[in-house]
């Protein structure tokens, strides 16, 4: 799971520094939280650098009519400096200016914006504009950038983006990178059941997406984890077999077993009855994952629904 978080943090740091992701790929061996802390230090450094002149630009912007400020923003400042100046201009003026900027320019500015410093502006941006920018970022597959804004956007704006996005795959790819995992319950609650079902089905297309789905599920409360576990258990036999293969190949059992344990009993029974999940190598992986006490507890919890031979392995 942490590999996903680390990958996202490397990408965010590369974006901040204006380098290619491959240039700092050596950070992939580090903990995601350490890379995030480094990014925060570097962000502070870049925001402090030139702050004197940025503050002067912000002061001059306050003197200038909004329409002219918008022209200057797009034609002279450019997306990087707009991102830096935004937090210094004042939310009201910044929102007024942003209303006159093209969605393409705003989307590019989002790549450089620090949502924590501009939360008031992001929250005050009209929903229609958020939708237009999100459409561009989705087309560019800027899921990590979109995820940085999840924390700052209003629930209404997030719901509007979800409703305007017919495909659940980009939603999953965005949600998994959200910086505050506590928001995952909220995000999942915005999706009606048929869309959650579709999200789960689409996540089974490849191992990377399934790992992303499990990463998302790992942050959910027991109720939502159980809901998604139930939807997983309703997948056809061939898909369940594929999920077992993904979990086995990528060592995902420590989360997969927690999801199974949160699933209602009938769903557990169906998932545990498959031939693939009863393979000796898979049961060895269960045993290995059970070295973590919470996984051992999950295995004990699902034991009543296990086929006899599997249950005997964990007696």
């Amino acid at each position: 799971m942490s590999a996903i978080a680390t990958k996202a943090e490397v990408l965010k740091l590369a974006r901040l520094l204006g380098v290619d992701e491959a240039d700092i790929a050596f950070l992939s061996g580090c903990d995601a939280l350490a890379i995030r802390a480094l990014r925060e230090q570097m962000t502070a450094k870049l925001y402090d650098d030139g702050k004197h002149l940025l503050q002067k630009i912000a002061a001059a912007t306050k003197l200038t009519p909004t329409a002219i400020s918008a022209v200057i923003a797009e034609k002279a400042l450019g997306p990087l400096l707009c991102a830096r100046v935004a937090s210094l201009v004042g939310a009201e003026k910044a929102i007024d200016i942003s209303k006159r900027l093209s969605p393409a320019f705003l989307a590019e500015t989002c790549l450089h914006l620090d949502p924590r410093r501009t939360a008031d502006i992001i929250r005050g941006t009209p929903v229609e504009q958020v939708l237009a920018v999100s459409k561009i970022l989705q087309a560019q597959k800027e899921f990590v950038t979109m995820a940085r804004f999840v924390d700052a956007l209003s629930p209404e704006a997030i719901k509007a983006v979800i409703n305007a996005t017919p495909d659940e795959e980009p939603l999953l790819r965005t949600a998994v990178f959200a910086e505050n995992p506590a928001l995952h319950n909220e995000l999942v609650s915005y999706l009606p059941k048929p869309r959650l079902k579709s999200l789960i089905a689409k996540a089974t297309v490849d191992a990377e997406l399934w790992a992303a789905a499990l990463s998302l599920m790992s942050h959910l409360n027991p109720q939502w984890m159980g809901e998604l576990g139930q939807l997983t258990s309703e997948l056809d036999e061939a898909t369940l077999t594929r999920i077992v293969a993904y979990s086995q190949a990528n060592n995902l059992w420590s989360v997969q077993l927690l999801v199974i344990a949160a699933t209602p009993a009938a769903g557990q029974k169906r998932v545990l009855a498959g031939s693939a999940i009863n393979a000796p190598a898979v049961l060895d992986s269960f045993a290995e994952a059970a070295q973590q006490p919470h996984v051992a507890a999950a295995i004990q919890a699902i034991k009543p629904q296990m086929p006899a031979a599997m249950a005997a392995r964990f007696s």
Binding site: L17, C30, L33, L53, L63, T64, V71, L80
Partner: protein, 72 residues
């Protein structure tokens, strides 16, 4: 934990590096330091270029006041 004295990145950040980055080699620390310095340099250059360019878009009536704010 690496300190400002022991590596160039901590020195550039004027702060100890976050825990968890101890495994980075001197070369990797140097690469990150250079990337940060380049980003700072690009930002400074962009700031200087755009400030002058921005004045060209300001109406004549306001230009003096804005120039005063920007350049004193």
């Amino acid at each position: 934990m690496p300190t400002a004295k022991s590596n160039p990145l901590a020195e550039a950040l004027q702060a100890p590096l976050p825990p968890g980055l101890e495994r980075l080699s001197p070369t990797q620390l140097q690469q990150l330091t250079a990337a940060l310095a380049n980003a700072q340099q690009r930002q400074r250059a962009a700031l200087e270029a755009s400030t002058e360019a921005a004045l060209g878009h300001i109406p004549m009536l306001l230009r003096g006041a804005v120039r005063k704010v920007l350049f004193g």
